[in-house]
Amino acid sequence: MALKDLQEWLYGCTHCGTCKDVLNIFSPACPAGEKYQLESYFPSGKMLIARGVANGVLNLDDDDTRERIYACTGCLSCEQQCGVYHHQHIFETVQALRSEAVTQGNLNPAYMVMVESLKKDDNVFGKAKAERGDWAKDLKIKDAAKEKTDVVYHAGCMLSFDPELWEIPRSAIKLLEAAGIDAGIMGAEESCCGGRAYEIGYDGEFTKYAEHFIETFNSLGAGKVITSCSDGYSTFKKLYPKMNIEMKFDTLHTAEYLDVLIKDKKLKFTKKVPLKVTYHDPCHLGRHLGESGIYDSPRNVLKSIPGIELVEMERNRENAWCCGAGAGVSQANPDFALWTANERLKEAQSTGATALVTSCPWCVRNFRDAVKKYGENIEIYDIAEIACKAL
């Protein structure tokens, strides 16, 4: 989306600041504003920057101005809190500013590395494409690129290339097996969903990936794509339909699918997992999906595990505080990403939980890194890891 297409919304924001806090709870809502405190970092600041750029008062060749635009995790909490009509277009405006910067050639070095890696190796981490399926090397799992399966499990970039997170997709596969599902993976043939490229303003790269992805999966003939990556999931659900290409497959998040399998009595948990946990709603599995936000499924899964006590944080579901990793922040501004994560960990600890469970590898990675940096005493699990413990 270009800035000129958002003209209708550029005068919407009154700078009332309501989006600074969660409605009625009045706890902070915007990670960027909360961390940096200057008005320019809050959602209203970003809307006003857009107005300034559109009117030629501000320029995106100023590194510090661009930094404010990139200091946004795309968590959409602002859109949740704002009551004015432009509210569904705040992050779209941030993205329009980012793509305007890219179009003008004002590139952010951290993202240039990422985009180069995408072009060369179909992933955002600068890793060799051939290593993409390594997480499943020793698993007996069908190669969906070669044989038809009912379900294709899409690991996504983060889970494919971060060995410390491999337990997550491996757990997911074990759970699918335990439920008797005919599942396969694409291994080295899997590619990035393109979501990150879109969020950081590389619209062209995104289009390329989306088209490739939809065509590939249409040709596989699998009815379902299951993913543990919330980022990828919201890309499939929210962004791909905008491509106007028929999608002949349905996408489910692991948490959603596990909930279905439990309800259908295909999956049963027998072992006790004695833990007091709190659940963190990933932005991409919640607010990014609007009315279709997946809030109940992961909680249902947790409640069906013997021994688990689930306690809620004050900011939960559509009002959840972001993990800090989104929209390219963990790559370009790790300081901000980890600070944001630690704010969440403090909130999690205050519930008395000893573990935080979530449903997105970007959240898991960022939370674990924040534990390392700040030393909060809490364990971090993905929903599949916790569920697998109960098999």
Binding site: L10, Y11, G12, C13, T14, H15, C16, G17, T18, K20, D21, L23, I25, F26, S27, Y36, Q37, L38, E39, S40, G45, L48, I49, R51, G52, V57, L58, N59, D62, D64, T65, R68, Q81, G83, V84, Y85, H86
Partner: protein, 480 residues
């Protein structure tokens, strides 16, 4: 500002608050250069965000030495252009100083820092002191408690207690010179229960829009939070009826809050709460049997019996006095006490602009002023949007016409400006004084006051702020 001075200042400010809290970035300067109103924008040179009283003092000392303007800022939501740096200088954003330092249950006050917002205060009291409450403005929850008292706000206990400056029970102020003073009982003791019996020096800072010093701490009254509440509404068909209903409710001394709005504004507000979009342009007119005005009295009680008795007494008072007027009511509604306008904001301001001629004036001339003000709205083909709040049991009244507008529509902006200019003439004529007084209205008022009033104001300003660095160009000293 001369570049050499600026870079020297920035070095020093970096040392005081840390470089991440000092900005000269064009985006920041742009954002702090204007507000929701049509006030002319002026850019600060630097934005600074201190976190402690010592940091504020050090910044003021430095600014005073260099003769650089300092403009205190919390949320910039005053709807009067009051945080726009008329002469450039430092925008002193105090939002990081956001501690609720003390809540005294026995003495019923809260001691807060300037960054404490209405939303924060409400959440804190709900959680930690549920039997006490503060009073809330209709402003967004992100706006400041201290700022609201400084601008003498009208809040939802104002019928009982008057303007927000009236319930300040103690102050700590950093003067333009960097000195620190405490005002009220806190000057001589550990508690902050009252300004009296000292000379009321709080008046040197309240109502001054930050032109005499930076308030670094304030104690404000809290009140018991009765568990039962309700709202009674009356809808008169004309403003004469509205006046009479208001007068009769005033004499009961019963409500916590007594407000009235044009029916058309109320209708738009209801639409917004229901997430329907209702455009106020072109002007929305009353249809058929729709009333002219909506009056709401908020009531509280320690039990249901008390609440019902209050409602009954109000009903009887209105019935006795208003028989010759056509109205509907009373209707009982759930109380909206402390409902911030978040969901109504769509209507209040969906084009980024909100303006009003907001005033305090005598109840005796309310009817005449409201009538003429609404007729002026008709003249400019603008929806009637009168909003009134009875203050201090009817001893004075808050009155404004809320004008949301699209900042991107230059013709509309001009129309709003012209309307406001005419409404200002009107209110000055009927004895209504503009509150949160925008600088254009200050200059108009100065034309009306006596030369000795002006001299006194300027003497006070010069005594407290010899180098005219505190929010200059407003009260006490015109722009150079």
């Amino acid at each position: 500002m001369i570049e050499a001075v600026k870079s020297r200042l920035i070095d020093q400010l970096d040392k005081i608050v840390g470089s991440q809290f000092v900005s000269t970035n064009p985006a920041d300067l742009y954002i702090y250069s204007y507000d929701l109103t049509f006030a002319e924008s002026h850019s600060p040179d630097i934005v600074v965000l201190p976190q402690s009283v010592e940091e504020v003092q050090a910044i003021l000392k430095l600014a005073n030495q260099e003769k650089i303007p300092v403009i205190p800022y919390i949320a910039g939501g005053n709807v009067g252009g009051l945080t726009i740096p008329l002469n450039g200088g430092i925008s002193l954003d105090l939002k990081r100083m956001n501690n609720i330092i003390e809540v005294s249950e026995a003495d019923m006050y809260a001691l807060v820092e300037p960054g404490v917002t209405f939303g924060q205060m409400k959440a804190f009291l709900n959680k930690n002191h549920p039997t006490l409450k503060y009073t809330y403005a209709f402003s967004p929850p992100s706006t400041g408690v201290i700022a609201n008292a400084i601008v003498q706000g009208l809040d939802n206990l104002s019928f009982r207690y008057g303007a927000a400056s009236h319930w300040v029970t103690g102050l700590e102020v950093a003067l333009a010179t960097g000195e620190l003073v405490r005002i009220g009982s806190c000057a001589a003791s550990k508690t902050w229960q009252a300004i009296a019996p000292f000379p009321e020096l709080d008046g040197l800072f309240l109502g001054w829009q930050g032109a005499t010093g930076v308030i670094t701490k304030m104690a404000v009254s809290l009140w018991p939070n009765p568990p039962y509440n309700t709202a009674l509404t009356y809808m008169p068909m004309d403003l004469e009826g509205a006046n009479e209903i208001l007068q009769s409710i005033i004499r009961t001394r019963i409500p916590d809050d007594l407000i009235g709005t044009s029916f058309t504004l109320n209708k738009a507000g209801v639409a917004a709460y229901e997430h329907r979009k209702m455009d106020l342009y072109p002007a929305v007119k009353r249809e058929g049997e729709e009333p002219e005005f909506v009056i709401t009295a908020e009531l509280t009680g320690n039990n249901e019996k008390e609440l019902n008795a209050k409602a009954e007494a109000i009903g009887e008072a209105v019935d006795a006095k208003c028989q010759s007027y056509k109205f509907t009511g009373p209707e009982t509604m759930p109380s909206t006490t402390a409902a911030f306008p978040m969901q109504a904001l769509g209507v209040l301001s969906s084009g980024g602009g909100l303006m009003w001629v907001g005033t305090y004036g005598p109840m005796s001339r309310w009817l005449e002023t409201v009538k003429k003000g609404c007729e002026l709205q008709d003249k400019y083909d603008i929806t009637r949007t009168c909003y009134t709040r009875i203050m201090n049991e009817g001893h004075f009244v808050g009155l404004r016409w809320m004008l949301p507008y699209d900042k991107g529509d230059p013709a509309l902006v001009e129309r709003i400006k012209d309307l406001c200019a005419e409404q200002l003439e009107l209110v000055l004529e009927t004895g209504y004084i503009p509150y949160k007084t925008p600088v254009w209205a200050v200059r108009k008022l100065e034309e009306k006051v006596s030369p000795d009033w002006l001299k006194l104001h300027r003497r006070i300003k010069a005594a407290l702020d010899p180098n005219n660095i505190m929010n200059p160009g407003r009260w006490g000293m015109p722009r150079e």
